[in-house]
Subunit: 139 residues, 2 copies
DNA sequence: GTTATTTATTTACCTGGGTAAATAAAATCG
DNA sequence: CGATTTTATTTACCCAGGTAAATAAATAAC
């Protein structure tokens, strides 16, 4: 088995998915990463920025930048908490109101992307993806 | 099956892989996308830029930029062909000489990433990834 | 042969992933 | 309490994905 080819395929499909999601979010003035955060906040409610990036496993500076953009475009608020170092992030009313529509559009795109897989294959894929790892030297 | 969660996992693993590959390429002053091009040129020999981006399914401007960087850092040459619009891309001697070492390092990283999958699971994963699609309206 | 169209590439500008280093506030240590 | 260390966030700067529009050369059309 050519592992390089397999991982190349993996990358290409990921880009294809991102492209499709961005396309589908375009009409809402949203981008895929922003949607991920929006969805997370909708599920979990108020979070500090650290909670956000740790949960999404994205680096802090990347998250900061995306959150700043989302604040500017009116999707979230970033209020200073009791601990004045931290920023508490929350959805705006507008975001909450628009959420169902966006979710519906996303679900269409996601279902389309996965449309050739049976329920069983979906489970298999999830299981196999879960096995992909980087072995890190533990100190 | 929560498709959103599955695709989120998909993204996270892809980022993990990219991170690992970039890490492993760091000592060669290379980046994952540059490696992909380097590998392609090693396999296929001289190519025009259009052949490169069409083969890798990456947009032309993205490819141009990466190729310019690779030219600057001495991995490739970009010569004007008979058709003066096109640029023919080729590996430098340095690149050819260093190639085996880099390939070896990459293979270690890739094998590590896939180390929890059996040969059969690798085939299954490839098959499932191949089924991921975006249905485009055909004109 | 001159004009119009296509094709290859580039430029300018987004978003978004990363790292390294700088703040600033809280917590800890002595 | 004052000094040190930790923690949360930000800033600056990479690389890399995308789109839209501009060149420039080749081709096609007239």
């Amino acid at each position: 088995m050519d592992k390089g080819q397999l991982l190349h395929l993996f990358n290409q499909k990921q880009r294809l998915l991102m492209k499709e999601l961005n396309d589908c979010l375009k009409s809402f003035d949203l981008y895929s990463s922003q949607w991920t955060i929006l969805y997370t906040l909708h599920q979990k409610g108020k979070m500090t920025q650290t909670e956000v990036w740790q949960y999404l496993k994205v680096e802090a500076p990347t998250t900061t930048r995306t959150l700043v953009r989302m604040e500017k475009s009116g999707w979230i608020t970033r209020k200073t908490g009791k601990d004045k170092r931290e920023r508490v992030v929350d959805l705006t009313e507008t975001a909450k109101k628009k959420f169902p529509q966006i979710l519906a559009a996303i679900k269409v795109a996601e279902s389309s992307f996965l449309s050739n897989l049976s329920e069983e294959e979906l489970h298999t894929l999830e299981k196999l993806l879960g096995k992909l790892t980087i072995e890190r030297d533990e100190a």
